[in-house]
Amino acid sequence: MSGVIGLDQVALRAYRGMCLARAFDTKLSSLYKAGKVFGGVFLGRGHEAVAAASAAFLERGRDVYNPFIREMAGRCVWGDDALLEACRSYFGSALGCMGGKDGNVHWGQPTQGNPAPVSHLGAMLSVVAGMMLAKRLRGEAGGVGVACIGDGTTSVGATHEACNLIAVEKLPVVVVVTNNRYAYSTPNCEEFACADLTDRGKGYGMCTYSCDGTDFLQTLSTMRQAVESARNGEGAQWVVATTLRMCGHGEHDDAAYIPAELKEAYAQRDPLDVARRQLLEKGWLSEQEADEMDAVARDAVQRALAQAQREDPPAPRTVDWRATSWNPQGA
């Protein structure tokens, strides 16, 4: 796809997704603090560049995209319906793709290449593998699956099983590991002992990449290379992008365990600021256009949140409680 559409167009689409995600996070945080959201709220602040890049080279209908907790920017790049669906998910709208039966970041459109994540970390990697295996068995060539995980998920047994299998089957899957240095409150040094998370990808026999996840254009070009390699039949790819979570694990968490120096260092490297600066320097975006994009994003977020809050909630008396689609006759 990047061969047809220039990197400037991809970058602008990705940046638009980042603006939407940041505006969404800002509003959602306020609504959480005002007690308007049922459960937890999980933001992607600091992850926007990696998230947007993870979806930037994918095509809905052909590819598979498996975002998880902090990939709102990637979801917005993957599809224009993401903003409304994310709002519906948090507010449990009956019209959302989960119909209020699941919520917050646990939503997907599995028939459209976007599987609905479960909370068990690492469990979706093998599901992505299966979706790509189905394409192979059905003779559908050229698709790529991107599966997003974090540093903490690299410790999960399911991750190991799936990554090994993906590599053994040479499936066109890109595993994007966003290392934000903390798995909830646990720092990298208590999470793994290898020198670098790319070592893990090498161990699986995957082609590995690492990039600075706060550097928008570097992350974008790394993802382009990884997705193109997978698309060209070079098998499994492992991308490690390092950034900092500029928020708590969820909005209930003040992240007091992250040292102040680290927070200050990353304050200078906010992916939104870096991306804007880089797009201006390249001449792909003017100051005025950037401001407009921001304003449009904020308006879109307002509208989507208002709509989702207005929509009917699911009704316990009329909702479909069946757990299986098939039921025996007479039962």
């Binding site: 599995p110 609905a116 299966g130 295996l133 799936a162 689609s325 025996p328 039962a331």
Partner: protein, 324 residues
């Protein structure tokens, strides 16, 4: 011609591969000329190249691949080498596949084959009956065939059911249960229990390898004591055919439920709970359960025989039930 229970399973998969191009088989050691730890897939990889695939030793990922492949439109049949290792896939099956239809409205059409149950010398980790663990999760169907005909028909029906199905195939029955033919002239649908033997003095509910034990017990009782117990083969533990169970209890007034599983919270407990809740007035005596012991499954054949229900202990329990 005499065919076995495992022949029926092999034949069902062979026919499914021939009839449904979306079917593929995935599991440990099932491909190549090896054809599986129990030879259930022997020769199928050669006959259907690319559709019988070996997986790494990764039970969780095997299930995940099955879920993804089903979402991609395929009809995967997955194999756990032993049902005991199904616990390693329980998260994917229960939390991911099982929850999927309710959460998204999209069913996950996968079949999970699990060679289950005890055999002499199997020991604690190659003998378990884990149907209750899987049946506990909403969203799964759990089939437990006891005959050659059911092994064939129900595996084929499992793939036609659009939801995740656990197919519990009992290793003790693999080569011990034989029939003249695979085919039932009039196969029952999944969800219907079968009256395996008609009787009047007590109802013995059994499934899987406990069905032949219960039938032998009934024969013993008839010969030795003149009692005629009715034996009901559940065929599937989920769906559970409460109607057939209650109808039988209404005829006999006495209930014994036999299960090879551990006692705590198992299928036997579920059946007793349902009969107590819906048919207490039908009972002339307290309902009884006969299960394996509340201890891990032992290795030595003499210990193993004493650990699980047998024709002799089922007959003994039935005599006691009738005496109440």
């Amino acid at each position: 011609m005499s065919v076995t229970y495992i022949d029926a399973i092999h034949r069902a998969m062979e026919d499914l591969l021939a009839e449904d191009e979306l079917v593929f088989l995935y599991g440990e050691d099932i491909a190549g000329s090896f054809g599986g730890a129990f030879k259930a897939t022997k020769g199928l990889a050669e006959k259907y190249p690319g559709r019988v695939m070996n997986a790494p030793i990764s039970e969780d990922a095997i299930l995940g691949v099955g879920i993804g492949a089903a979402l991609g439109g395929m009809h995967p049949i997955l194999e756990m080498q032993f049902a005991d290792f199904g616990t390693l896939a329980l998260n994917q099956m229960g939390n991911n596949a099982g929850a999927h239809y309710f959460r998204t409205g999209v069913p996950v059409n996968l079949t999970l084959r699990m060679p289950c149950g005890g055999t002499p010398g199997g020991g604690p980790f190659h003998s378990q009956s884990v149907e209750a663990l899987f049946a506990h999760y909403p969203g799964l169907h759990v089939l437990t065939p006891a005959t050659v005909g059911d092994a064939y028909d129900m595996l084929k029906q499992a793939v036609q059911i659009p939801d995740p199905v656990v197919f519990m195939e009992h290793k003790y029955l693999y080569r011990r249960v034989k029939a003249e033919s695979f085919t039932n002239p009039d196969p029952l649908p999944v969800g219907r229990a079968r009256i395996a033997r008609e009787g009047e003095h007590a109802t013995i509910i059994a499934f899987s390898a406990m069905v032949p034990e219960a039938l032998e017990a009934a024969q013993l009782l008839a010969e030795q004591s003149g009692y005629e117990p009715e034996v009901v083969d559940l065929r599937s533990v989920k769906p559970l055919d409460t109607d057939t169970i209650l109808a039988s209890v209404a005829r006999t007034g006495r209930l014994l439920v036999v299960s090879e599983d551990f006692p705590w919270g198992g299928v036997a407990a579920e059946v007793v709970a349902r009969v107590a809740a819906e048919g207490l007035h039908l009972l002339d005596a307290p309902p009884l359960r006969l299960t394996s012991k509340e201890s891990p499954i032992p290795y030595h054949p003499e210990l193993w025989k004493a650990h699980r229900p047998s024709a002799a202990t089922i007959a003994q329990a039935t005599r006691y039930l009738i005496s109440l």
